[in-house]
Symmetry: C2
Subunit: 304 residues, 2 copies
């Protein structure tokens, strides 16, 4: 099967490409620029362009049997700064993709959604897929809208979409500029000999998933003809304090933690119920949090 990976040079995309190649698929990558931390992979076709340039995307689609859509021009932490641009780039851009796929009769699409933002403040944890979608930030609003449109295109245009609602992915090749997640940001600071800043008391709980476990699920999902939405997380909650403690054990170097008066935290506790993905795809997470942080620390120490 020939798979087009939109965003295949990004953090998650690069791992998805690895999983696809390991399964023997042919891979074409569409992205703005080459991978940041690796040379081009042998056997992978690269096409560089802008997701909003519809003709470039149509070009990339030609001959593909399935599409994996991992592009977002925003992060959860940045999208609120400019909602009109977030919507124009990511929602309108995705709808143009769906129209192009319909026109080219390519029905199979895996979409990377967001289990961390699509539900908003959960009624209870772990959160099952049936939980109402009540996103409270722009990133989640756009993801929820896209999922609604995927179902509309399924019913009216013959699209075969599957959404993977990722929790908080982390691991090697993640950016660590402060916008992409607490694990990479903290590890970078510790490696730089800087103190850690924790906004609030460290009790905020999230569901951290190693990126290669996420990539395996994405690669399996696109290979099957299941539609719908599936949570992708570890199913286990970890607090910021837990992360800090693990990093202390892993890094072996002393650091100070500066607890600052909390920003109002919208969602105190978010953990995903991942039983559906396990049942449907026989999926298992393979890398525990301590092991994953250790590996990420080693990668970061080797590449800085």
């Amino acid at each position: 099967m020939k798979v087009l990976v939109l965003g295949g040079c990004g953090f998650i995309g690069s791992h998805v490409v690895d999983s696809l190649l390991a399964r023997g698929h042919k891979v074409r990558v569409f992205d703005r620029q080459p991978e940041r931390y690796r040379d081009p992979l042998p056997g992978v076709e690269y096409q560089f362009g802008n997701f909003r340039d519809r003709m470039s995307v149509i070009d990339a689609l030609s001959g593909a049997d399935a599409v994996m859509h991992l592009i977002s021009t925003t992060f959860p932490s940045t999208a609120d700064l400019d909602p009109p641009t977030d919507v124009s780039d990511n929602l309108v851009g995705t709808l143009a993709l769906l129209d192009s796929m319909t026109a080219l009769k390519i029905p199979r699409l895996m979409f990377l959604s967001s289990g961390g933002t699509i539900y908003g403040v959960p009624d209870a944890v772990p959160i099952p897929e049936e939980h109402p979608l009540r996103p409270i930030n722009s990133y989640g609003i756009v993801k929820a809208s896209i999922e609604h449109y995927l179902d509309l295109y399924r019913r009216t245009r013959g699209l075969m979409p599957i959404s993977i609602r990722a929790s908080n992915p982390y691991g090697p090749r993640q950016g660590h500029t402060g916008v992409q997640g607490v694990i990479g940001t903290f590890l970078r600071r510790v490696l730089n000999g800087e103190d850690l800043e924790v906004w609030g008391d460290g009790s905020v709980v999230r569901d951290y998933l190693h990126v290669s476990d996420l990539a395996e699920l994405c690669a399996e999902a696109v290979s099957r003809d299941v539609t719908g939405a599936f949570n992708a997380g570890s199913g286990i909650g970890a607090s910021v304090s837990d992360i800090v403690e693990i990093i202390g054990e892993v890094s072996g170097s002393p650091f100070k933690v500066d607890y600052r008066p909390g920003r109002p935290i919208d969602v105190p506790r978010s953990v995903l119920d991942v039983s559906a993905a396990k049942r449907e795809f026989g999926w298992q997470t393979r890398i525990g949090l301590a092991e994953g942080i250790r590996e990420t620390h080693a990668w970061m120490a080797a590449t800085r």
Copy 2:
């Protein structure tokens, strides 16, 4: 209070303007073109322009104490034809409006949402506001997204938004080209001596609300400082067959009803729970369905 009515020359907007004038408010209308069925109203300021032209909208906002946003470039029955345009026009356009209101420090906004499409297939009727938002068509997806953004701008930008989720409005000055609702469409056909076409068996139930009852609620809502979302309907379900029967009594002229094999009807039954609006605003619907259809028939007969 000076109120800017975006879409104030449209079907619902023209009635909202009447309600505002009756309450003694100053009114400025922004729309693409003048009212179709009436001359310009004395004392109302009209400004014509395109909602996507941000500078025109900013111009219209200047000096306004509150804004009523009734513009949609699509109907529920047409939006699915071109989702990217629906989103660009209505969602991105509305976000630009919110940014302009924030910049100009005009916090009060009444937004006309859609109780008929925002919930999707309801778990039960009547539908309360707390029902999950699971829209299944583009019109409803855009309305749901806008409501999510209204709440985001309330929390982060000081906006004071209220959404009125209208059911199926009908009444004088509604278009009757077949896309704007069954009552106007049927009345027009009967007045033209044509047969009625019913797709399916006539059992589909909707909540029809006379436009002047809706306008009264909108005008009351913008005058208060309540935020959130409120259903606006009659709270009573009527089937297509009920409508046909009332039209038969009202019109006095014979017509044939041609029942055609049904299009798949996504939502068999939609009726709104309107107790929250009644409680919060002391609102009452004043015009029953038979009376309202009679009045609409008389208006249509007089203006064709």
